[in-house]
Amino acid sequence: MLDIDSGTATYSKAENSDDRTGNFGGQATKSYFYKKAVSEIDSTSSAVDDKLNKSKNTVGNRLENTSTGENFLNSDAPVRTIRNIYFQSEFITPELRTAINLLETSQNYIEEAINSIQQGKRKDSDEYIMQFKELLPELFCCRTISESFGAVINAIHNAMSNMKGQPLSEGQIVALKEIITALLREPAMSFDKAVDCVSDFEDADYEVESAGLEGLLKLVEMMNEDEMELNNG
């Protein structure tokens, strides 16, 4: 369940009597609350969002609102007005509010990166991607929103790190936009859905696992083989 009083989005595992949760990690409750609050925003504000993204909400003024989320509620942009109604909802935690701000900013950077690369301005495109990457640590701090949110942000962070400074191709930036949009649409998506999102993202030539995980898995493998050898011997 969401723990609204403490301002953290903790939730219990699904309360099934069966041993299986059936949804890869008890995300259903969280997802329900999130959807209840945000689905209406999506349906009513997407048109306004489009308009706004083209005019008032440039990357610059988005940035002012990014890191704390404090200015968010005071903004006079039309989309903000619509969103404010819902963002005062008891269901929205500070982490979710901040995450949505950061994701929207990310989306703008990525769109700018796509526009730049399409105009042949590769350097500008890289710079927008660099600015987007700077938001990832704070986005990861919002992982109490849901396990799937944390897992998706983590996969994106690994993918960026594994590029080792190589510029992203247009296809990779488009895939980045898609996964950020999916997360913005449903930050507390089921883990199953998160797996689908990360799989699609990975198909754009990204490596979403870290060297750290690989090292730990090699250790497990080595220990198990060692044990098997000794047992066989």
């Binding site: 890869f24 990861f140 996969a155 979403v208 497990v220 060692d226």
Partner: protein, 282 residues
């Protein structure tokens, strides 16, 4: 000269789904060289009981210990390992633990508290990653090749799931029968092939022939071939291992494997071919 069809073994499936970097890329490129790639369900069964089980094991160990350093220390106590190896791994874990406790908090810690501490970030990051890898690998297993072939009547592909206590489970990993669905085919249609494989293993250089897995395999091949009433249990089925790929690979396909040393003599004994990604990508 490679054939146009590949019969994919567990090592390729693992490199494609679990590994990263060069191993993953080579597996992908090798698969792309073939017009048709077939993955037998036997490879999926081996994959679930082996490499995927390691991912699950790591995740559950992280869940149990609550830290990466403690997980490494716990891993160092598996089995009765050689002392030096065990000491080295344990020391690494202790060092990590010390480093985490001394590490400075990030600039975000004032706002996010423990969520911004390096140790928690590392822990959550690797835990999410392990879980994501496990479910992703399972979902993608059927899309690694152009076809999944040779279903096993006694084995059902149940997906991984999360238990109420937060641990991940891969159960069932085994065939649920006391006599494997392959036993009739092995005894009746493949009897001569069993003998050929037994002879091939016995001809191997002693370091290969004396490997525990080959000794078990020869014994099994002999028992199944000579005793009509011999039932094949789940562990027998697993111990047949590489022999299953040699026995069931179609004549017009290569066995694609990274474990060429073990597969090649068995495949050749039955007039078949085994190739590695390295060979195919030359």
């Amino acid at each position: 000269m490679a054939k146009s069809k590949a019969f994919v073994d567990t090592t390729i499936l693992t490199n494609r789904l679990i590994k990263s970097g060069k191993e993953k890329q080579e597996a992908k490129d090798a698969l792309d060289k073939y017009e048709i790639t077939e993955l037998p369900v036997y490879a999926i069964k081996e994959f679930k009981a082996g490499p995927l089980d390691y991912v699950k094991y790591l995740y559950n160990k992280l869940q149990e210990t609550g830290s990466v350093a403690d997980t490494i220390i716990a891993l160092s106590s598996i089995g009765r390992q050689r002392n030096r190896q065990q000491t080295a791994i344990r020391t690494l874990g202790e060092l990590m633990k010390k480093a985490s406790s001394l590490s400075m908090k990030t600039s975000l810690s004032a706002k996010y508290g423990h969520l911004a501490e390096k140790e928690n970030i590392s822990y959550d990051s690797v835990k999410y990653e392990a879980k994501m890898l496990l479910f992703k690998a399972w979902k993608k297993r059927n899309s690694v090749t152009t076809k999944v072939v040779q279903p096993l009547a006694c084995y059902q592909e149940f997906p991984p799931y999360e238990k109420k206590n937060g641990e991940l489970s891969l159960i069932p990993k085994n065939c649920e029968t006391d006599d494997c669905c392959l036993s009739k085919t092995l005894r009746e249609e493949k009897r001569f092939d069993l003998t050929k494989l037994k002879v091939a293993i016995n001809k191997l250089p002693s370091e290969l022939k004396n490997k525990a897995e080959n000794q078990k395999r020869v014994k099994l091949l002999h028992e199944i071939g000579s005793n009509k009433g011999r039932k094949i249990s789940n562990s027998d089925c697993r111990n047949l291992g590489d022999a299953i790929f040699a026995l069931f690979c179609p004549q017009d396909a290569d066995i694609l494997t990274t474990n060429i040393k073990d597969h090649e003599p068995l495949a050749n004994a039955l007039g078949k071919t085994a190739v590695s990604p390295e060979q195919i990508l030359k």
